[in-house]
Amino acid sequence: MSEWPLYEVFVRSKRGLNHVHVGSLHAPDDKLALMHARDVYTRRNEGVSIWVVRADAITASSPDEKDPLFAPSGDKVYRHPTFYDIPEHVPHM
């Protein structure tokens, strides 16, 4: 079924967390992509919410643009909030 479009799958593993990219799959339409994602990526109780999006709807950065996009932030350590102590009871940081 190589004509089926490719979808990227994002799963939220529990409430309060972000959706995380878990993989991709093929499906004939959006609704079936969601069903496939449920079957392929949440069989072991991994999720509470799923997003699927057609891979061709994603605009991605190219490795060639790596330097202009990312290098300028490399020497700006003051943008990182690393000078604070994070209290122990703050999760997921």
């Binding site: 093929h26 079936l32 496939h36 079957d39 392929v40 069989r43």
Partner: protein, 275 residues
Amino acid sequence: MINDADLLVNDAHWAFGTGFEDPLAGVDTTVPEGVDAAGLARCCLMLGDDALVLSQRLSEWCSRAPDLEEDIALSNIALDLLGQARLLLARAAAADPSLVPVLPEDSPVPAEDALAFFRDAGQFRNVVLAELPNGDFAETVTRLLLFSTWRLEVFEQLVTHADTVLAAVAAKGRKELSYHRDFSARWFVTLARGTEESRRRVLTAVDALWPWWSALDVPAEVDVVLEQVFAAARVERPEVPPAEDGGREGGHTAALTDLLADMQSVARAHPRGLW
């Protein structure tokens, strides 16, 4: 190098061990007062056999489905049905132990396995719809649509059954069946409105299954749901005379004998085996 004997005794090789527990462990299986135990057991046996046999059929798709995604979906559904079958066969055995085939006295085979693996076709109580060979993907989807729509309605009614064990099995199963119905209904509509070839296959599947479907005594609510799905798919329900389905009395097609030969051969070769 792992040898067979090691695999059988060394649980560490298996993610969840090899000792499958009694699915009703810890549950009070006393039949409530006022419930006919033999009738309850017959009912559980019918529903359990429907699930077991269709589960086996669906699992035949494993590694052969049109796509990896469909392969996993059908295997998931097969496992859901197998889970229902285990609970229902265990319930049948607890309610009426006389149903369980007699095995050698030292056999460790639990009652649910004795029912699944040591009965012949004539003792199975599933409807013929469940045992028919798979056909193509369209036929599997169509059968699953009919079966899960019907079974979901039956389970909805059983949720209030006087036997609390059966009621709990139904409450758990209806979530699974809702998904099976959605999955198969969506594929049914997709194929029926897809290409000329996919539509032809759906129509062929409907024609092939309809005599066995119309032989069944299904609640009226089932028709309401099917009507919506068939309308969305723009498929007419055929006017064909019902087939003679003796499945509930043990009258089966040769397809069930073949299915059971496949499913039961290992268990029967090792009646004292522990799985």
